[in-house]
């Protein structure tokens, strides 16, 4: 396979490998473009724990200062905290320095607009235009601002989450919790949060040095150490976060990873049981969500992949809950962003209110099997392959083409096919109540795609 560029410039920000493509010059120029886009004002700057974060942060400061912005340095911070601080203060935007679940040699800038939402694709396009045209609003010395430090990045965030929860109910239970922060932004903030909820807290991988002890993506296969620790400590629950603490995976009291798809499913069930309203999730999120919403007679709105797409649909539809199947719980009453802290709080409250164990809560959910698959497909033929797939399968079931192709079959099975933004592959996600069908669907489509590519 030809080696692709290790720089990805797209609507979700810029991402690259430090020492190769993510140079301080590039970071500075993007920060200038962003500062020119939002105009002079306070811009929150936070980062995850990656070793390259300090270099990237200085480059971001330089770019922002040069265009008259006032950087608010919150240091190492969970991404949801950055978004919520942007929303609850007079900041006009934020730059989150994090490559999220990517391996340690990567870093990235994610751009946040006024109100604390990631830039949508139209805003991101405008930012890219400014970048490419080098139309930077450089200011002269008399308009320069200084960097301001904010030593409490989670203040507004924790206040909002605690306000949303029934803290009293959780406090009474004194849960024993193990968390795995992947040495990321959750390392120091997660115990602080859980202690506020009266938990007895045991941490693993909680040194915020950015040396990731495991793959940062909180998938079942990456969190075996957490599973073992929960079991050994006889804890009530285990929580795993990614490096920027926006995604959450849960381990039950028996030390079994319940699967990151169920984080959002549990949250949907809890929230709808208290307040009915629309649910917004992306196309690839588990169908368990639809089943739960149907029980409560609530509509489910499906969006394109991308956190900002879910967030904007949540606002437009006045959703009460939603998120992404990758462990991204989003509670609009707190803030429409993926928030592992909101997710942890909600699950603990479920345990407290129902007096049940995690495994009991999971056993009450409908059972589905999800299978993911990738097929090599060069970027040149990806478009034509998608077009022929769409034409061929229009009659198979309910078809959705807002992002690739999703077909939902009458038996509740579904498959979602889309070209990757980052690699020359097609991503296939299938889910079914039947394990056999969940394996069969992507296999069948993979063969078909291979013949097209």
């Amino acid at each position: 396979m030809p080696r692709g560029s290790s720089l990805k410039v797209g609507i979700s920000g810029i991402r690259g490998i430090v020492g190769e493509t993510l140079t301080p010059q590039l970071v500075t120029t993007f920060a200038e473009a962003f500062g020119s886009f939002v105009g002079p004002g306070s811009v929150i700057v936070g980062r995850d724990t990656r070793a390259s974060g300090e270099m990237v942060k200085n480059a971001v400061f330089a770019g922002l200062l040069a265009v008259g912005c006032k950087p608010i340095d919150v240091g190492i911070s969970p991404v949801p905290s950055i978004l919520i601080k942007t929303n609850r203060t007079d900041a006009i935007g934020a730059i989150a320095i994090t490559a999220s679940h990517n391996p340690v040699q990567w870093n990235a800038l994610k751009f946040v607009g006024r109100g604390g939402l990631f830039l949508n694709r139209y805003e991101a396009q405008e930012l890219l235009d400014i970048y490419h045209q080098s139309e930077f609003a450089l200011v002269e010395t008399d308009l320069y601002m200084s960097v301001v430090r904010d030593d409490d990045p989670v203040k507004e965030h924790f206040a909002a989450v605690l306000d949303y929860l029934d803290v009293e109910a959780i406090l009474k239970r004194k849960f024993k919790v193990v968390y795995d922060a992947c040495n990321g932004a959750g390392s120091t903030f997660t115990p602080r949060f859980l202690e506020l909820l009266g938990c007895e807290v045991i941490g693993i991988n909680n040194v915020p040095d950015g040396v990731f002890p495991r793959n940062p993506e909180p998938k079942a296969e990456n969190i075996t150490q957490l599973c073992e620790t929960v079991k050994a400590e006889k804890a009530d629950i285990g929580f795993a976060q990614d490096a920027d603490a926006d995604r959450l995976a849960i381990v039950d009291e028996n030390g079994r990873a319940i699967g990151e798809e169920l984080s959002v499913a549990l949250a949907v069930k809890h929230v709808l049981s208290r307040e009915r309203g629309p649910v917004v999730v992306n196309l690839s999120t588990t169908a368990i969500v639809d089943r739960i919403a149907a029980e409560f007679d609530c509509p489910v709105i499906r969006t394109r992949i991308g956190e900002v797409n879910v967030a904007e649909a949540m606002i437009a539809h006045k959703a009460v809950i939603g998120g992404e199947g990758n462990g991204g719980v989003m509670v609009p009453a707190i803030h429409p962003c993926r928030d592992s802290f909101a997710g942890m709080g909600i699950v603990l409250q479920m345990l407290a209110e129902k007096g049940k164990t995690v495994s009991q809560l999971v056993s009450e959910l409908p059972s589905y099997v999800m299978v993911k698959h990738t097929v090599a497909c060069s970027t040149e033929v990806a478009h034509s392959a998608m077009t022929s797939l769409r034409k061929k399968h229009t009659q198979d079931g309910t078809v959705d083409t807002i992002d690739g192709l999703k077909i939902t079959y009458p038996d509740g099975s579904w498959i979602h096919i889309r070209p990757s933004n980052t690699e020359p592959v097609m991503r296939l996600t299938a889910e079914s109540p039947s394990a056999e069908r969940a394996r069969d669907l992507p296999r069948r489509f993979a063969e078909e795609i291979s013949s097209l590519c």
């Binding site: 430090v18 990237v56 480059a59 200062l65 450089l138 200084s146």
Partner: protein
Amino acid sequence: MNGRDLKQLRIGPSGVRGIVGQTLTPELITDFACAFGTYVQSGLVVVGRDTRASGEMVKSSVLAGLVSTGCTVVDLGICPTPIVQFMVRELSAAGAIAISAGHNDARWNALGFINFRGTYLNEYEGEGVLDIYHSGEFAKRPWDALGRVEQKTDYLPIYFSRLCSFIDTKAVREAHFKVIIDPCNGAGACVVDILCECLGCQLIPINNEPTGIFPHDPEPRPRNARQIASIVKPVQADIGFLLSSDVGRVSIVTDTGETVSEECTFPLVLEHFLNRKKGPVVTNLSTTKMVDDIALRYDCPLVKSQVGHFHTIHTMLGEDAVIAGEGSGTVAVPEFQPAFDAFLSMGLILEMMAARRKKISELLRELPRYHIIKEKIYCPPEKVHNAIDEVRQYYRNEKPDLTDGVRVDWSDGWLHVRASTTEPLIRVIAESNHKRIARERADRAVSIISRVI
């Protein structure tokens, strides 16, 4: 086009100087920091800045660039340039970047490149950095080989204890001088308090806040010394000192309130220092004849260098001189450190006053005095060569020295016409026993140049 409207950027062997918001962009600074970091082979680099509002932007760019090339950085924060230079040797660093535009007004900023000896880079070293800059081949380090940034705050006592052991502190302390110092809210602000405390002087500070808001141009010369002059007599001070924003230069105000030309600083220190130690003296081609007279009186050889900090310093080192200085108010004593250092100049002047038990006004009266006229003419870069050549043509029968522009010597004085390396202008300096003659010579040179522009 008016010369003042030109976009200004000056790139020389020992640094880069430009106007913030126009030419001195964060990308440019980052590139130069990367080039310097590559040049010093990812070694330890000391960074300090003066108080200018743009200093934080420049520093952020410098840190990002240095760290990306694997340099570990000791960040001294706001720090006078001579102390940055001192700390290079103290920490056995590979070099330093001093962020200060010295005497330039607040719109400017600059990077000064300093080698492992604590001196500005010479032409050959500077060539090395520029070649790397122009090739763009920077050392790009991966995430696990990036440099770190260490903040250092405890360095002032180290510097001042060394300075005080170089000066006859006991004699100065016994004199109980009352001293006015105006650091122009630059890097010397508050640091001068330590100097006075060490030397047992009562300090009356003016503009002693490190805000970077310059109450007047940060250039030590009589017209900027009026604030000091207005209070010398009312407070019965023994002497007043006016500093540049980087504490490289100093000019004097006497006990009688006379604002003394910055030309007198070096001759005064020289007159005293050659009593302590005899040896070769270095100055530049634009400096007062007072220096010639004093060197002759002490029977010390005098060598004249091209104009420019690094020329003077490197000539001093090459000639094994005991002292060097310039008409702009700088003095360097290599036995202490090979750098222009206004703290040392102030210390030596106070030592002289204590040793000779005379008022500063009396000491100055004992020096040979000449009339010096300094003019500057804005000149677009494309016309500089013609302008200088026109002057050379005019004086072709007077055996002009063409080392640096045109210098003509007569029995009763001299004239020096040269292009500034830091600004788009031509400097005309005439000195004579008779004010009228100096004035006539300067006016004539100005009119010759004006014809060409």
